[in-house]
């Protein structure tokens, strides 16, 4: 088992963003997340050796962008869907 600890500044990345990123690696290993003094520590155990720390950090950056995109477009997505299904009897 390959072990490592990766840390993130909670002022920069949300816990949700980090969880979403880690979920994508659940086929590769297991994770133990702890938060203390604004530092999010992830203890990782991987099944096979690789440069997992870099890969996880890159995925966290992607998830952070996804979070921005999602938050900013939630209302407009609802508007588009309401428009798409107007006059279908599916929505009031």
């Amino acid at each position: 088992m390959n072990e490592d600890v990766i840390t993130f500044d909670a002022n920069v990345f949300s816990l949700d963003t980090i969880k979403r990123a880690l979920y994508r690696f659940t086929d590769k290993g297991t994770f133990d997340i702890q938060v203390k003094d604004n530092i999010i520590s992830v203890q990782v155990q991987f099944k096979a050796p690789d440069d997992w720390a870099s890969k996880i950090k890159n995925e966290v950056l992607d998830q952070d962008l996804r979070d921005t995109l999602s938050k900013e477009t939630t209302n407009i997505r609802t508007l588009i869907l309401a428009n798409a299904f107007s006059n279908t009897g599916l929505i009031d």
């Binding site: 979403r20 992607d62 998830q63 962008l65 996804r66 995109l69 477009t73 798409a84 279908t88």
Partner: protein, 490 residues
């Protein structure tokens, strides 16, 4: 100022947008390869971009004078003060894509018998018996099932006869076709029939019946003789010969477009993709569907489904697609059907109707199965699972349950709710979502959960690999792009 400029204002004069003032529209992204991402939206428009471009787009740093800005705007990834027409366009395209859901179940599978003259290792359902009463559908059951068929609001109804070997119960097929046509005199639906058969019982009577009722045939052809006979053993080891003879006969009598073939990939198939495709070409078939083995029924019991993994299957698919493209480059149109589905999802606003690549899943609402004993299943895979004594996806029985009981059953509604990709972890923000689906029955069969963890999912892994490969071909190989775009249905 040019002469043109004196008479007409410049483009910039009409541009009301200002730097950094655009608004993001809903989008998702996924890694394509080491240096590129695919950015897509709910209706399937996409762009292949770099990490820097992705970051600039989301942080609203894209220069409004750049080509990238106009690409984003024309594909409805942003709106600005100049135009917000994208919102109406996206709504219209979304509605077009979703239209199929309102039409409801179009494909109705009738399992007219479980009896079969083959002994395929991976087959989930067949029975070797002469006892017609035990595994044949009765007229009474067929009548009840037909009542349900015509309750579907779909304007087009396709009845597909499955088995076992359905021609072992040809009399019931004749009865169902005649009865369905009679009922349809009232309903006026676009009614079509397909018989899925190994062709060993194809004779002049069957062919004449197919001509009379415009019935299509679908058969199984796994590749060259040794491979086909190894995958699909028949007591006399003459399955291949009977199949290719049947294909020729059907092509001659019914026409080339009335007979199609499907193949199943077993471990023995993996090193032989070119000779499998050659067999299709030799038999005047103009397409092939490179399918992996499903993890259901006897395929699991005999451990056939686990003998190769997704990576090995993907190599098989990739080699096959390369070969198919090579054939096309030589001037012969030959299509790989799974790739064709994806190409159509990438470039057409219309739904492909392919059950496995839909959100919500097509189980029950795009296709429904009436088993020989009257049991109703959400899909053929659900029926296969039931053969392993797991009836989780049994929706009811035609003798005891009404259409409303079946379609509004908790089993179906819970399954559909769990199959909305938009709300599934990992799918929800995946750039491939508009082209993908989530197969709840596959995930139940492999992970014991209809949603499943997509990081562990062979379905997800297989489809991501295929999407990345097909999109990379479109981006990097102009000749392949031209061929693939010719597969878009218009």
């Amino acid at each position: 100022m040019s002469l043109l400029g004196k008479r007409f204002k410049l483009i910039e004069d009409f541009d009301q947008s200002t730097e950094g003032s655009y608004e993001l529209l809903p989008a998702r992204f996924a890694v394509l390869d080491d240096s590129r991402y695919i950015l897509s939206n709910d209706v399937g428009e996409f762009l292949v971009i770099s990490r820097t471009q992705l970051s600039d787009y989301i942080k609203k740093k894209v220069s409004r004078h750049s080509d990238f800005y106009f690409d984003l705007k024309s594909k409805s990834f942003l709106i600005d003060a100049d135009s917000n027409v994208a919102i109406d366009l996206l709504a219209l395209k979304y509605r077009t894509k979703a239209q199929q859901i309102s039409r409801f179940t179009a494909l109705h599978l009738f399992v007219v018998t479980l009896r079969c003259d083959y002994t395929c290792q991976y087959c989930q359902v067949s029975r070797q018996t002469d006892d017609k009463n035990a595994y044949d559908m009765s007229e009474e059951t067929a009548n009840k099932a037909l009542d349900l068929v015509f309750k579907s609001p779909s304007p087009a109804i396709k009845i597909e006869f499955q088995g076992g070997e359905p021609l072992l119960n040809f009399k019931l097929i004749q009865y169902i076709v005649a009865t369905a046509k009679e009922i349809n005199l009232v309903h006026h639906k676009d009614l079509q029939f397909v018989i899925t058969t190994n062709l060993s019982l194809l004779n002049d009577e069957v062919l004449a019946f197919c001509i009379e009722h415009n019935i299509c045939l679908s058969t199984s052809l796994d590749g060259p003789e040794n491979l086909h006979n190894a995958n699909r053993p028949r007591p006399k080891q003459n399955g291949y010969q009977l199949t290719v003879d049947g294909i020729k006969k059907a092509q001659l009598v019914l026409g080339n477009d009335k007979i199609g073939a499907l193949m199943t990939t077993t471990e023995k198939s993996l090193p032989n993709v070119k000779s499998i495709i050659d067999t299709y070409l030799e038999n005047n078939l103009n397409c092939i569907f490179l399918r992996p083995l499903s993890p259901y029924g006897f395929a699991v019991k005999t451990k056939q489904a686990y003998k190769y993994d997704v990576d090995r299957w993907f190599e098989f698919y990739k080699e096959g697609l390369d070969y198919v493209l090579e054939i096309n480059k030589q001037g012969f149109k030959f299509v790989e059907l799974y790739t064709e589905l994806i190409i159509n999802k990438l470039f057409s606003p219309f739904s492909t109707g392919y059950v496995d690549l839909q959100s919500p899943s097509g189980a029950g609402i795009s296709a429904i199965v009436y088993n020989y004993d009257g049991d109703v299943y959400a899909s053929d895979e659900a029926r296969m699972l039931a053969e392993m004594e797991d009836t989780k996806f049994r929706l009811g029985n035609v003798h005891t349950d009404s259409y409303e009981d079946i379609i509004l059953s908790d089993v179906l509604l819970d399954t559909l709710e769990a199959s909305l990709s938009e709300s599934i972890p990992m799918c929800t923000d995946c750039g491939f979502l508009p082209y993908c689906g989530t197969d709840p029955i596959y995930h139940y069969a492999t992970q014991g959960d209809v949603v499943g963890n997509k990081a562990l999912s062979g379905f997800c892994s297989k489809n991501m690999k295929i999407f990345r490969h097909v999109i990379s071909l479109l981006e990097d190989d102009p000749e392949a792009r031209k061929i693939l775009l010719s597969w878009v249905r218009t």
